[in-house]
């Protein structure tokens, strides 16, 4: 159980009402110290709106925010100085180089150590861009420069809005590595949004799914693994005998026995014929055997009440 001191971000009842649209509707969210929180939703679901509210770019219609345990205006202002963020994609001055853009923000934010620029650029593999201007950067390079700015001041809390957009496969792998390093070595708390669950699957500890402005589901990585685990659903004449045969003859340990003479077998997924053969050879009748389990996409669609439900 986390104490309040361990909560980095707490949103309660956040609502954002535009003239004709309710972009956020009573969103409650808590992120604890050191967590990597994956914030998932379709385009237009309200992800960026919530991040804008948290970072102070827009006002909230209702609800309260607490950053590092402080929810008054002065406390939020101090808290925001401990946040590094990319909201809505990276934004820089097009006529400045990567180093000059970061130097601009180093001066603006009052970071005394000039080395923080080269360190941040090195971390995102942009240390050799020299005088190349931001406007000449590829989309992936722009994303990485955004991350460099976000981490430059070694913030306690990192907010990244769709940071994987535009990265090529090797860039995505590198990016995951950077996030893991920031989390493990620097203890940063990270809130990362994406519209694709599978993009965050390998980095996040906990997830929240937002749909039509509402946070519809929160779950941990362990729950996700459990809920999306593939298995063989085996319906037999005698489950107890079948379990003994699976263990003794095939060495299967990962299985569950369910009521109604049904077993869930989590291994041997591509060798169902072997299971059928062994059970039949030992006088256990196999009524049905089929591969089951949800994909990440189906899981997400089920959470938002879509066709994967």
């Amino acid at each position: 159980m986390r104490t309040l001191k361990d909560i980095i971000l707490q949103c309660e009842g956040i609502t954002k009402q535009y003239t004709n649209t309710r972009a956020l509707d009573q969103v409650d969210m808590r992120i604890g110290r050191g967590e990597i929180y994956g914030f998932i939703g379709e385009n237009g679901a309200g992800k960026t709106t919530l991040l804008r509210v948290i970072t102070g770019l827009i006002s909230r219609t209702e609800g309260s925010i607490s950053l590092f345990g402080k929810s008054d205006d002065a406390g939020l202002a101090r808290g925001r100085k401990r946040i590094g963020c990319i909201v809505e994609g990276p934004a820089f001055y097009p006529y400045l180089s990567a180093a000059d853009n970061l130097e601009y923000y180093r001066i603006q934010r009052g970071y005394p150590d000039k080395n923080c620029i080269s360190q941040a650029l090195k971390m995102v593999n942009l240390e050799h861009t020299g005088k190349k201007k931001f406007q000449q950067f590829s989309l992936g390079m722009k994303q990485r420069l955004g991350v460099a700015l976000a981490i430059m001041g070694k913030p306690d809390f990192l907010i990244l809005d769709e940071p994987i957009n535009g990265l090529d496969p090797s860039g995505i792998v590198e990016f995951r590595q950077i996030l893991k390093t920031l989390s493990r070595e620097y203890g940063m708390t990270i809130l990362i949004s994406s519209h694709i669950l599978s993009e965050l699957e390998q980095v996040a500890d906990r997830y929240g799914i937002v749909h039509q402005g509402r946070l519809v589901k929160e779950f941990t990585q362990a729950q996700l693994e459990q809920d999306t685990r593939r298995y063989l659903a085996v319906k037999v004449s005698d489950a107890a005998d079948a379990a003994a045969i699976l263990e003794q003859k095939l060495g299967i340990k990962e299985y569950e026995v369910l009521p109604g003479n049904e077993l869930r077998v989590y291994t041997y997924l591509d060798k169902s014929a072997d299971i059928t053969f062994q059970l039949a050879s030992n006088q256990v009748k196999v009524i049905s055997i089929k591969e089951m389990g949800s994909t990440l996409e189906n899981y997400f669609m089920a959470a938002i009440g879509g066709k994967g439900n």
Partner: protein, 279 residues
């Protein structure tokens, strides 16, 4: 606030706005100086004298009188130019407004700025101060360039402590009027959130305002006092006032302060209350 000012000065130093404006001023000075030089040349004098039969009496120019108006040296050229191009400063400052304030909207960098610095009044004020600093640098730079161009084409001379004081006074008197223009530019940017609109509206407002003021001032008897509300003309008046001319600067100054206050407060309120949720 100081950090924001320093950072924006760094950005201007790395960009092309200041160099571009100074290059524009330099070319203007050179062009005017060359025209002066040509007009004052004996060959041109002879040419004009030989063409007198083509001009009516009223069109003729007294060559000697015209030549007396030409600068005798670099110092005189400096003073003359400071006065003659003063109205143009209203347009020369626009790139600074765009670079320091407007660029945050066009490049989306307001996200980096406002997500870190929460005090929007401080940000707005810091950027106004930065633009003012650059404007002062532009005025000083104009003086230096005019001195160089004038000295090269009309000979070195005329530079004295009194001249420097006169130039500094001109800068001080012009500054409140230029601040009103800066406030206007900031207000338009905060209201429209787009630099392209800022440029368009700024030009339209300045030109339309001049016409709205000048037409009744010239056509309606007793309305000439309206000219004091034409701030572009008032820039020249401020330079003339600094040179000791018998002109009044009270109405333009009061009007400038009112315009600065109105546009500054309107822009600031809009900046403070805007939801920055546009791309």
């Amino acid at each position: 606030m100081l950090n924001i000012i320093q950072a924006d000065l760094f950005k201007v130093r790395k960009g092309k706005a200041f160099i571009g404006v100074m290059l524009g001023i330099f070319l203007t000075l050179v062009l005017v100086a060359v025209v002066f030089k040509v007009v004052s040349a004996p060959a041109f004098n002879d040419y004009i004298s030989g063409q007198e039969e083509y001009y009516s009496e009223s069109d003729r120019v007294d060559i000697n009188e015209a030549q007396q108006m030409l600068p005798a040296n670099g110092g005189e050229f400096l003073l003359m130019m400071f006065r003659e191009i003063a109205s143009g400063y209203a347009f020369f400052i626009l790139p600074f407004i765009i670079t320091v304030f407007g660029a945050d909207y066009s490049s989306g960098t307001y996200r980096n700025l406002l997500s870190y610095h929460s005090g929007r009044t401080g940000i707005f004020t810091a950027k106004l101060i930065t633009t003012t600093i650059i404007t002062i640098a532009m005025l000083i730079g104009t003086g230096i360039l005019a001195a160089i161009v004038g000295s090269v084409l009309f000979g070195f001379g005329g530079f004295s402590a009194a001249l420097i004081v006169q130039v500094l006074k001109a800068i001080i008197f012009m500054l409140p009027i230029l601040l009103a223009f800066i406030g206007l530019g900031y207000c338009i940017t905060a209201l429209t959130k787009k630099t392209s609109y800022t440029i368009a509206f700024y030009f339209v407002i300045l030109l339309v305002w001049s016409i709205v003021i000048q037409v009744p001032a010239m056509l309606i008897p007793g309305m000439s006092w309206l000219m004091a509300l034409d701030l572009m003309s008032s820039l020249k008046t401020a330079a003339q006032y600094a040179a000791g001319a018998d002109v009044s600067l009270a109405v333009p100054m009061v009007f400038s302060i009112i315009l600065l206050a109105a546009s500054g407060v309107t822009g600031l309120i809009k900046y403070k209350t805007t939801d920055f949720d546009f791309s």
